[in-house]
Symmetry: none
Subunit: 131 residues, 4 copies
Amino acid sequence: MIISIDVSNGLAIYDQIVRQIKFAVASGIILPGELVPSVREMAKQTAVNPNTVSRAYRELQSEGILEVVRGTGLQVSTGALKQCRKDRQGLIQERLRAVLKEAQQSQLEVDDIRQLIEAELARLNGKGTSK
Amino acid sequence: MIISIDVSNGLAIYDQIVRQIKFAVASGIILPGELVPSVREMAKQTAVNPNTVSRAYRELQSEGILEVVRGTGLQVSTGALKQCRKDRQGLIQERLRAVLKEAQQSQLEVDDIRQLIEAELARLNGKGTSK
Amino acid sequence: MIISIDVSNGLAIYDQIVRQIKFAVASGIILPGELVPSVREMAKQTAVNPNTVSRAYRELQSEGILEVVRGTGLQVSTGALKQCRKDRQGLIQERLRAVLKEAQQSQLEVDDIRQLIEAELARLNGKGTSK
Amino acid sequence: MIISIDVSNGLAIYDQIVRQIKFAVASGIILPGELVPSVREMAKQTAVNPNTVSRAYRELQSEGILEVVRGTGLQVSTGALKQCRKDRQGLIQERLRAVLKEAQQSQLEVDDIRQLIEAELARLNGKGTSK
DNA sequence: GTGGTCTAGACCACC
DNA sequence: GTGGTCTAGACCACG
């Protein structure tokens, strides 16, 4: 699992770690039962303050994504995969709703919105297949 | 023009003012050449410190949305309407692209995405017409 | 004499009036002994608050450019032409010095500066003659 | 980097800070990637309120000269050097053009202007070498 | 420790 | 009356 940090993108570093681990879990890159890198290890890898990694892990524990294995480290918990997928789905849905709502408030017709979306989907697919 | 502030939504107060004024300009609620409420007036209206309003107005000046008329107040500048509309459009497009991209990365099929979108659009329209 | 005011250029209105009258005197557009328009007249002409015109005239009186003719109005004083010319000269010289100094502080070589100047002079002359 | 404030020169304090930092960047006194003094540090150094320093830094951020490194400070951004140099050059050119234009409007012959300039350049150089 | 935001209250120039 | 600037002091999130 590779975590890459961008210090100057406005997002808190701990939050970048949280999101990327959730993403890794949702995508099956790291499976329930597997250990995440230790705080020190991750801190070295990402050149980040251990406090910050620790905070990210704490956050993930409180959300039930990670759980302590005494004397061993932190592992991805059993329900984490399903939860991360659902989170992801929910988050996407929420953001989709927000942007659609705003689009409508801006005098955009429903058909204009659909057109915009199809254009963007085509763009993404074009990029994806050509790669 | 009515500006409503929500102190506990995470967004900075000055930013809420900035956005709502841009929205008002983009929507034609306030036209180029018209004066925005004075700093003190707006501060009273929104129960916010005048400095905070001033900061929002300064931000809008530096973006070319507002301009000072010495001793008289701040007026919406000539190019503001077009600029705010374009900003708004660009912002929506960008956010749409981001969420669609993320949706695709989450193993959602294009048709699933379309279905989600239609559901959300229906929700919005239902809300709109029933109200 | 035509005075034109630009409310949104940052310069105080009264100052714009002061400068334009000095310019008119220096250029011989208005001669010593001639009356300037009355406060009310000028205020109407320029669509400016009479207080503001009054302030400009006061400024010009205190600099000795204008003088009261009791019951008649304000006239350009005898020494005004020479003084305005000198002022103008001095002001230009001062600004020239300031900009040259700054240019030198910015690692510009003397010859680069000369080149820049010649380019600008050519531009101005080109414009002037072609007009 | 030394920032010196003159409270009684008409220029706003925050603007003096902005200009001097731009100057320092343009001159290579402070390089892209380096941190500027912290808000509190700079405030102590210049005997100015931290808010005022903060405002100057905010201004520089919005112009893309500085960028935040969360919890660490503000660093000179990558493109800042080039940008500051260009700004500086453009500003000088603009002011040069303005003063030359005004000089010509004042019945000064081109050769008189050249003479004035050479005199000023000599003055500056004399000062520079004698120092 | 860092910057970001906000409030409160003051003074200024300009109209 | 208008905006612009500054100070003082407080609280927050982040590292």
